[in-house]
């Protein structure tokens, strides 16, 4: 059965970019305003799931040739890696640090190692979410 879903496809094409931007915004807003790795990852993940729901798996896979299990694994590595990384700087496990740096063009910016940790969280969330939904929907 061929479903006529032109409207859905057209809308999603627009909406996905809004959702992705919003997800990235949430991810970076995290430290000082509502947002963060978990919620950012969830929003980004749901944007990807939306794509999968609208278009078929092959089409999306052509555009994003990632194995989402590996994305999740990379996230876990990043999160645990930043935790272990602090040991090399003679600081206790999971110590986070931050500071103000002047970057050309962007000006003075607040940078923190939490971003790496949160990126790990976000990647794990995206990877796991998509993996679960894909494996359930592919199951016959």
């Amino acid at each position: 059965m061929k479903v006529n879903d032109v409207i859905l496809k057209t809308v999603v094409r627009m909406v996905v970019f809004i959702v992705l931007t919003f997800g990235m915004y949430l991810f970076f807003a995290g430290h000082n305003a509502p947002g963060g790795g978990f919620i950012g990852g969830l929003v980004l993940g749901s944007a990807i799931v939306l794509l999968y729901l609208t278009y078929d798996i092959e089409t999306v896979h052509k555009g994003m040739p990632f194995d989402f299990k590996k994305v999740a694994a990379l996230g876990v590595l990043l999160a645990t890696g930043t935790a272990i990384g602090s040991l090399f700087f003679d600081a206790p496990f999971l110590t986070q640090t931050d500071g103000y740096f002047t970057i050309p063009i962007l000006g003075e910016k607040h940078l923190s190692t939490v971003v790496l940790f949160e990126a790990g969280v976000a990647l794990t969330v995206i990877g796991t979410l998509v993996t679960i939904i894909l494996s359930i929907s592919e199951d016959e």
């Binding site: 949430l26 995290g30 430290h31 000082n32 305003a33 509502p34 947002g35 963060g36 790795g37 978990f38 919620i39 969830l42 929003v43 993940g45 749901s46 799931v49 729901l53 299990k69 999740a72 694994a73 996230g75 876990v76 999160a79 645990t80 935790a83 496990f93 999971l94 986070q96 640090t97 931050d98 607040h110 923190s112 939490v114 940790f117 949160e118 790990g120 969280v121 794990t124 969330v125 990877g127 796991t128 979410l129 993996t131 679960i132 939904i133 494996s135 359930i136 929907s137 592919e138 199951d139």
Partner: protein, 803 residues
């Protein structure tokens, strides 16, 4: 630093194995692995001169300092012996395994486990902290489990691995309890500090219980009677593993523990009798049972049990010197300990060689059954040489190292009779008599190994392959070992001075000079002493018994099969399995609603029960802010949605109504100015709803429940009680004033964690440990879903487990 590096290197190498394995497919993986123990052996051996001068090397890395748990590496004479054995025998075994295991086996698993074991074992002998020692101790059990079950398609391998695991790990847990008691008594986990505060520990009421529990750990690990039953079954492992773990190193961990804790516990009567009594009993039982075995490896397993008993009993006898204290006439009793250390090294050399010899026979002929073997001497002359030298050394014959240590063992048992402590004047005679009888059996099984395999008539039709000599690579390692067997006999005092003397100093730290504790080892004392007479007796009676073996062999049938330790073990495991499955089947009936009932009833009982018991359910609405009308509307929506779920006829309605509930909660978060929570709730709610809808097509239609009214009412009561519990506790939390709220601490988030959003600083910094582990859990859950769905067996697939 070097010592910590020695522990780390095998683990690092184990982690690198997958990459090396993929990169160099054509080269046998063993060549790369061989580098690790060889380097470590050289490194550690370079410490020998300084250790012989009485130096020790300590380095502490803080781990959990608040609990006194630190990674303290400690290299002294005793650890030196063991670490040299681990790395030395390890190198030889890996060299041997290169020729023993073909590249078709899953070598990357094998060497990964082997390196894990090596690192863990080095960790055991080089750690000063009891907790760290315990961790490594259990890791050796785990790696041994993996190695025994290396050929996991065989049922016997799996059963043997499980048996070894159950016995050694239960002993390990007992040992942990013993360590904790020691900690309670002394206030420290450091062995050196415990020895320094001996008076406090010995005065404690926990002294004897701690001792017995630690001994339980040592006895299970070292396969002492009656826990010896796991070792013969562990012989299902590939022969290099048997040679390495189950004769030279891991089973000696128990011996190490006894030696290491001798300064703490030795000198106590219970210690003396338990260690030497169990040891001498094991010596006898092992050698007695070895004679009846037909499988060469099983025979060697029982002989290992018996030799471990010998070493154990010597440590027990030697501990008497600690009771007597230092005096010029008590030094003679320390010689038992010296003999123990000496025999420990000798046993590793000759038993390692013998295991490799059996491996060669098995590899080249295809069987290890002595009933099918015979007449191999002419066909395998080099292997025959290994067997003769190894067996003669084990039987205690000159000119091999086993003779020297066996003589010293006899001397120690004779000397102990002169003591009049610990009621030794009444029972002391047991030791020389049992030792002598056990040695006769040892002689008999040594004769069986040599005579049955290499003499007699060859039976080519009963062998799997035409016999021929082994490739030279397989012969190198055993030949190096038998060189030691002969070399130690010729120059025993080099070993005595450089290796054994510093170890004596670690076991008798209270005795002023270790020089005095080191006797001059000599094969011939210039006259025929008691021990030499005993050896003569062993040879005469041994030959006699071997000649008449056929006549008295039926004697083994007298023991009823029902009451062997193996049968008891099987019965305990079997009945445990059937009882637990009967109990589990009673409540795990496959009905999801039952499982929810268990969870919720437990939830109510614990939470509501505790809240009532502690009397904290108080609610004071006077402090609350006023309820706005739009909040009431939201509450009404939620109540309506929740009520409607009960009467929904279709699943899709249920999911959507459930979504209404979730979104309403999110609205509440918005109203109460919690944007983080609101956002999370909204996204999570959307995704779960999508997931539900996705999973729908697999679910059947809702069927009306056909249950009696009383069950319906019970279920309703439970659900109402759950709701009431949550609500009441939520309300009570507002008024809880037993301790100060910790929220004030987090308000300083910007200075402490550099973030203005408290929620995120808690997630990413204050409680980042939780977040990190949650991420890991999420990942595992995702992988779980994936494997459950994708990797399930197709219909008609064979069950891999039950081959």
């Amino acid at each position: 630093m070097i010592v910590a590096f020695s522990i780390m290197l095998p683990f690092i190498a184990a982690a690198l194995i997958p990459f090396i394995y993929r990169r160099f497919k054509n080269i046998h993986l063993g060549w790369f692995v061989l580098v690790v123990p060889a380097v470590l052996f050289t490194l550690l051996a370079s410490y020998i001169p300084r250790i012989a001068n009485g130096e020790t090397f300590v380095k502490t890395y803080e781990w959990i300092p608040t609990f006194g748990i630190n990674i303290t590496t400690y290299l002294d004479g005793l650890s030196m012996i063991f670490s040299l054995l681990i790395t030395g025998v390890g190198s030889l075994v890996i060299l041997y395994s290169i020729f023993y295991l073909s590249t078709k086996e899953s070598l990357h698993h094998f060497y990964c486990y082997l390196l894990l074991f090596m690192g863990a074992m080095l960790g055991v002998v080089l750690s000063d902290n009891l907790m760290v020692l315990y961790v490594f101790w259990e890791l050796t059990s785990v790696s041994s489990f993996l190695l025994i079950a290396f050929w996991h398609h065989r049922k016997a391998s799996r059963a043997g691995a499980r048996k070894a695991m159950i016995i050694t790990v239960s002993g390990g847990v007992a040992m942990l309890a013993g360590f904790l008691m020691l900690y309670v008594a002394s206030g420290t986990f450091s062995i050196r500090e415990i020895i320094a505060n001996l008076e406090v520990v010995q005065a404690s009421a926990l002294f004897v219980p701690a001792m017995l529990l630690v001994l339980l750990g040592a006895f299970t690990k070292s396969a002492q009677f009656p826990f010896h039953i796991w070792l013969p079954d562990a012989m299902e492992a590939p022969t290099p593993v048997s040679a390495y773990l189950h004769s030279a190193t891991m089973v000696k961990a128990g011996i190490y523990l006894v030696a290491r804790t001798t300064p703490i516990f030795g000198g106590h009567e219970v210690w003396f009798w338990t260690v030497s009594g169990v040891g001498i009993l094991t010596l006898f039982w092992g050698s007695f049972n070895a004679v009846k075995q037909f499988d060469l490896k099983a025979l060697l397993a029982y002989s290992t049990i018996s030799q471990l008993g010998l070493i154990m009993s010597l440590f027990g006898l030697g501990s008497a010197a600690l009771h007597l204290g230092y005096a010029s006439d008590t030094v003679i009793y320390t010689q038992a300990t010296f003999a123990a250390l000496f025999h420990l090294i000798n046993h590793s050399t000759f038993k390692g060689a013998l295991f490799m010899m059996v491996g060669i026979v098995d590899h080249e002929v295809g069987t290890r059954d002595i009933r099918r073997l015979g007449g191999l001497m002419a066909l395998m002359p080099f292997t025959f040489t290994i067997a003769v030298i190894g067996s003669f050394s084990m039987a205690g014959l000159p000119p091999f190292n086993g003779f020297l240590s066996k003589e010293m063992f006899f001397a120690a048992t004779v000397n102990i009779m002169q003591l009049n402590i610990f009621s030794l004047d009444n029972f002391g005679l047991i030791f020389p008599v049992v030792a002598w009888i056990a040695s006769i059996f040892t002689f008999v099984y040594c004769a069986i190994i040599v005579m049955r395999t290499f003499f007699g008539k060859i039976q080519p039709d009963r062998l799997e392959k035409p016999p021929h000599e082994a490739p030279i690579g397989m012969l190198i390692s055993p030949y190096i070992l038998i060189t030691f067997v002969v070399g130690i006999f010729i120059f025993p005092n080099v070993l005595g001075h450089y290796i054994l003397q510093p170890a004596m100093a670690s076991i008798y730290p209270m005795f002023p000079s270790s020089e005095e504790l080191t006797p001059h080892i000599a094969a011939w004392h210039g006259y025929i002493n008691t021990e030499l007479w005993m050896t003569f007796g062993v040879i005469v009676f041994g030959i006699l018994l071997y000649r008449t073996l056929k006549k008295w062999r039926p004697m083994y049938q007298i023991f009823p099969q029902k009451y062997t330790f193996n049968a008891i073990y099987e019965r305990i495991i079997g009945s445990g399995e059937s009882y637990s499955s009967r109990i589990t089947n009673r409540y795990m009936n496959g009905h999801l609603s039952y499982y929810f009932i268990y969870i919720y009833v437990f939830f109510i009982a614990v939470l509501a029960g505790y809240a009532l018991y502690a009397d904290v359910l108080s609610w004071d609405p006077s402090k609350d802010s006023a309820i706005e009308p739009y909040e009431l509307i939201l509450v009404f929506v939620m109540v309506f949605a929740a009520g409607a779920i009960l009467f929904a006829k279709q699943r899709i309605t249920v999911v959507l109504l459930n979504g209404v509930l979730g979104y309403s909660v999110a609205f509440f978060f918005v109203l109460f100015r919690a944007p983080d929570l609101a956002l999370t709730q909204l996204v999570v709610e959307s995704i779960t709803t999508a997931l539900f809808l996705l999973a729908f097509k697999y679910l059947p239609k809702i069927q009306p429940e056909k249950v009696s009214n009383s069950i319906k009412i019970t279920k309703a009561m439970i659900s109402i009680a759950v709701g009431a519990t949550v609500t009441l506790i939520g309300l009570a939390v507002m008024n809880y004033d037993k301790f100060e709220p910790i929220s004030a601490y987090f308000e300083d988030a910007y200075n402490l964690a550099g973030g203005k959003n408290i929620v995120n600083t808690i997630l990413g910094d204050f409680r980042a440990f939780d977040t990190m582990l949650e991420v890991v859990v999420l990942f595992i859950a995702g992988l779980g879903v994936y494997t459950l769905i994708k990797l399930k067996a197709k219909k008609g697939d064979t069950d891999v487990e039950s081959k």
